[in-house]
């Protein structure tokens, strides 16, 4: 199993908590919206990715399981 992050861009309101929690994979654009630099989440970052998903106030960050 591999895991990928996705942003629901309609729900996202640029609170940017995800970037605080997961700067390894996410950075902000000039307007404060997240850019997923690498959607695939390496296993060692899964815990942090989970925390970022839970922290999003608008539930816009999604962690999806993908069958290999």
């Amino acid at each position: 199993m591999s895991f990928r992050l996705r942003v629901n861009p309609i729900a996202c309101e640029a609170h940017a908590l995800c970037v605080e929690l997961l700067p390894e994979l996410i950075r902000l654009d000039d307007w404060g919206y997240p850019i997923l630099e690498q959607p695939e989440v390496p296993s060692e970052l899964l815990g942090l990715a989970d925390r970022a998903v839970e922290a999003c106030p608008t539930l816009a960050l999604i962690l999806e399981e993908e069958p290999d």
């Binding site: 861009p9 309609i10 729900a11 996202c12 640029a14 654009d29 000039d30 307007w31 919206y33 850019i35």
Partner: protein, 404 residues
């Protein structure tokens, strides 16, 4: 064409076994004509494979300002489109057909109502619905959202309409031209369909050509037709050409000399980074300024953003403002670099493909009109407005920019 005329020209609506029809469509090589170029048989299979398909939606929104082919088909040959929709409904097991009309075709709802009233032998009910205005309203998730009682704006996908569409059930949504082609394949077969076009791109397409040509309009052309032949079909150029916009406002600018070496085929168009999209071609004459025209179009596209997603709302606005500054010659020389960075950053980050299409358009403009960008820094240009349609009256005031 009335129903009687239609039947005289095309023959009665044939009965085709669903499986057999999808096979024929597959063998024909038909691809969707709404712009995404997706193999029609694959879409039919994806929807037909599910249970409880709610509807076939004919997406007649045609929100691309320079496109006229769907409107033409729906007003002149409504029965061919409806035949295709009804056949597709049978093929995927849909219980109804909804004909979504754009503002163009909706100007003749009476004619379409009469066409529907004349058809009393359709196996499924067919109804009309009006599409809301706006460039993104024609995007398929937006069409479904509107039909489901919501606003006509794109939704977060997946689920896509073929998974969860009208009434929350699997829905087949197709462009009118695609369905008209399905109706022809059902009648005359895949061999007949393949008599035109190339082996990789069989059949013909409706192309809306406008701009600096003597006879702008909608032309049916076989795939593989050269751009030179296309230009001749449209009465030839009215002046020396500077560039072509291929594929509408989500499309790509190509230098005229380069474009005239091309043929209308996916492979060839891809070699210069374009696709035919929904079949829109605009010829830009040398008396006009591509940079100025592109600035107007990107401003239009930024205003047409659904304003639902931050990167599109803010990113396209910023890009449009930068391009306006570049076109008026007041931008910093590095401004194009910033536009390129923004374009690469907002691509793929909307719920729909609006930012992707708009950035493809503007990046090609910066590339093809690089000379104009440099000239605009040095001098005022006195180009004539080409008047690319942007949903409002065409500005007649003198424009900033190069040439004459």
């Amino acid at each position: 064409m009335s129903l009687a005329e239609h039947q005289r020209v095309h023959g009665e609506l044939p009965h085709r076994d669903p499986h057999e029809l999808i096979e024929a469509v597959e063998a024909s090589g038909l691809r969707g004509r709404g712009g995404a170029d997706f193999p029609t048989a694959r879409k039919l299979r994806a929807v037909g494979g599910s249970r409880r398909v709610s509807a076939v939606v004919v997406n007649g929104s045609e929100t691309e300002p320079a496109s006229a082919k769907d409107r033409l088909l729906l007003t002149r040959l409504p029965h061919l489109v409806l035949d295709g929709a009804v056949l597709a409904a049978q093929a995927v097991g849909a219980s109804e057909v909804i004909l979504q009309l754009g503002t163009g075709a909706a100007s003749a709802p009476g004619a379409l109502e009469a066409a529907l009233a004349a058809r009393d032998r359709d196996p499924v009910p067919v109804s009309l619905a009006a599409a809301p205005e706006g460039y993104v309203a024609g995007e398929e998730s937006a069409v479904i959202h509107h039909l489901n009682g919501g606003v006509g704006l794109p939704t977060f996908v997946p689920p896509r309409p073929f998974q969860k569409g009208f009434r929350g059930r699997p829905t087949l949504i197709q462009n009118p031209e695609t369905l008209a082609q399905v109706a022809l394949v059902a009648r005359f077969g895949e061999r007949w369909y393949r008599e035109l076009g190339t082996s990789a791109d069989p059949g013909s397409a409706l192309v809306t050509i406008s701009g600096a040509v003597a006879a702008p309009g909608v032309y049916e052309l076989a795939f593989g037709t050269s751009m030179i032949a296309l230009l001749e079909a449209a009465g030839g150029a009215t002046e020396r050409l500077r560039a072509f916009l291929v594929g509408g406002y989500f499309g790509t600018w190509v230098q005229a000399e380069r474009a005239l070496e091309l043929v209308l085929a996916r492979e060839d168009l891809r070699s210069v980074g374009c696709s035919l999209g929904s079949g829109v071609l605009i010829a830009l004459g040398e008396s006009s300024c591509g940079l100025h025209e592109s600035a107007r179009v990107i401003d239009y596209l930024s205003r047409q953003s659904a304003q639902q997603c931050g990167p599109c709302t803010f990113g396209l606005r910023a890009i449009a403002d930068s391009i306006a500054a570049i076109a008026s010659g007041v931008a910093h020389p590095q401004e194009t670099e910033r536009v390129k960075r923004w374009a690469s950053e907002i691509r793929g980050r909307g719920a729909c493909h609006h930012p992707d299409g708009a950035t493809r358009f503007i990046l090609s403009a910066l590339d093809v009109f690089a000379e104009e960008v440099a000239e605009h820094r040095r001098q005022r240009c006195r180009a004539r407005p080409a008047g690319l349609p942007v949903g409002g009256p065409v500005a007649e005031e003198p424009v900033v920019g190069r040439r004459r």
